[in-house]
Amino acid sequence: MTEADQREGERFRKLALPLLDEVYTFARYLTRDAGEAEDATQETYLRALRYFSGFSGESIKPWLFTILRNVLRSRDPRRFEPLPQGEGGEAGNVEPLWGETEADPEVQMARADDARVVRELIGRLPSVYREAIVLKEFNDLSYRQIAEVTGVPIGTVMSRLARAREELQTAWFALEKKGQKE
């Protein structure tokens, strides 16, 4: 191993490792599965190291997310498929996030602002809305960076984000109303 390799490794360690929690957060919301998220995160870092010499140096965060997204897509090519009716698809197929279902008494009893409930609601969003809101709110990416990562125009990022927020607000409202009835 040459000294240059070691320095490159050191540079990678300093730039990329502090972002591990963020990369994992994105992976977890996208996969909704702890094991899969962990695997995908590890693979992302291995790939990132391999291509690190080609990294543009502007900002490593969107670059890591782009790689993670490619890792996820290569594992499930349908993950980021466009929605049935263009961008205006339904949040129809509800997969419970992390096995928390409505039948789960813990969820029913939880107050509406419980983090678990919020995670559940985000987990029910269609994946293209979900990734937009996660990248914006949890990973603090700008519109331009989200556009880079997801490979769509900024206008599309904005409409997906607006849609994600609308659906979350609606779901939230329904939950609170239900809570009041009980």
Binding site: G9, R28, V118, Y143, R144
Partner: protein, 264 residues
């Protein structure tokens, strides 16, 4: 009255994506439109909820170790943070261009989606310029931390540091004593940012370093940027541009800026 054309801008305002001029415009509209005011309030409430603890997750223990096991061993002397730039310039430059082209493509495609995206264009291009400077500032900060070049003059005495700059640059940066505010002066140096010479005043807090870059001119730039985990804060005063770079928490950087500004 329908405000459909305003909706994307209400989100952009909430997300801090608008430049000052357009932010003022949409704020003025919100002040006079209950519909948009309601949307804005709902977006802010939601953002508030999403900032609750427990939503940003932590990687499982052991994952960092497993990833590090696949990395080259650390450099023994902990010096030389960066590989020599020339050796890498080829692939570096090429992919930077590819990256930028993709970003521009992504943006150009968006123009059709919203007529009002033009104001974002302004913001986005400015952010690009800012990024080059930010990258250069963070590089300078990292080089200094790697022990390559933290000081040319090392002193906690402002009467030593300030005169040292005179005669070396066209400007002499203010070097206030901020010890009472919890920021120790540690020294100064001359560095190069984006090709221009800058005075750097170095302050410390606990084990953290704040590199304050100063050069003449007052070009616009975002007040705060974050790059590779480092915070950058920008302000201008008396015809000088100031950039503070640090790994301190944002609240402590606020404190530093306030203390420095109050003393100059």
């Amino acid at each position: 009255m329908s405000c459909d054309d305003k909706k994307p801008l209400v989100h952009a305002l909430a997300d801090g994506e608008l430049d000052v001029v357009h932010a003022r415009e949409i704020e003025a509209h919100i002040a006079s439109c209950t519909d948009c005011a309601g949307s804005f309030a709902r977006i802010m409430t939601l953002k508030q909820k999403l900032s609750a603890p427990g939503l940003r997750l932590r990687a499982p223990t052991g994952l960092a170790e497993r990833i590090m096991a696949g990395l080259p061993a650390p450099v023994a002397d902990e010096m030389g943070f960066e590989a020599p730039r020339k050796a890498r310039l080829g692939s570096w430059g090429r992919s930077a261009n590819a990256w930028r082209l993709r970003a521009q493509g992504a943006f150009a495609g968006g123009l059709g989606a919203f007529a009002l995206a033009a104001c974002l264009a302004f913001f986005v291009m400015r952010a690009d310029t800012g990024n080059e400077i930010a990258r250069s500032l963070v590089d300078g900060h990292l080089r200094s931390l790697a022990g390559e070049h933290l000081f040319d003059v090392q002193s906690t005495d402002r009467h030593t540091v300030k005169p040292w700059f005179a005669g070396k640059l066209d400007i002499t940066p203010p070097v206030p004593d901020l010890a009472l505010k919890g920021f120790t002066l540690v020294g100064g140096r001359i560095d190069y940012v984006d090709g221009r010479a800058a005075a750097v005043v170095v302050y410390g807090r606990r084990t953290h370093v704040i590199n304050l870059f100063v050069w003449p001119g007052t070009d616009p730039a975002p007040p705060t940027m974050e790059l590779s985990g480092y915070l950058l804060r920008h302000w201008t005063k008396d015809g000088l541009t100031f950039w503070a770079v640090t790994d301190l928490a944002s609240s402590e950087l606020d404190e530093f800026e306030a203390a420095y500004q109050a003393a100059t």
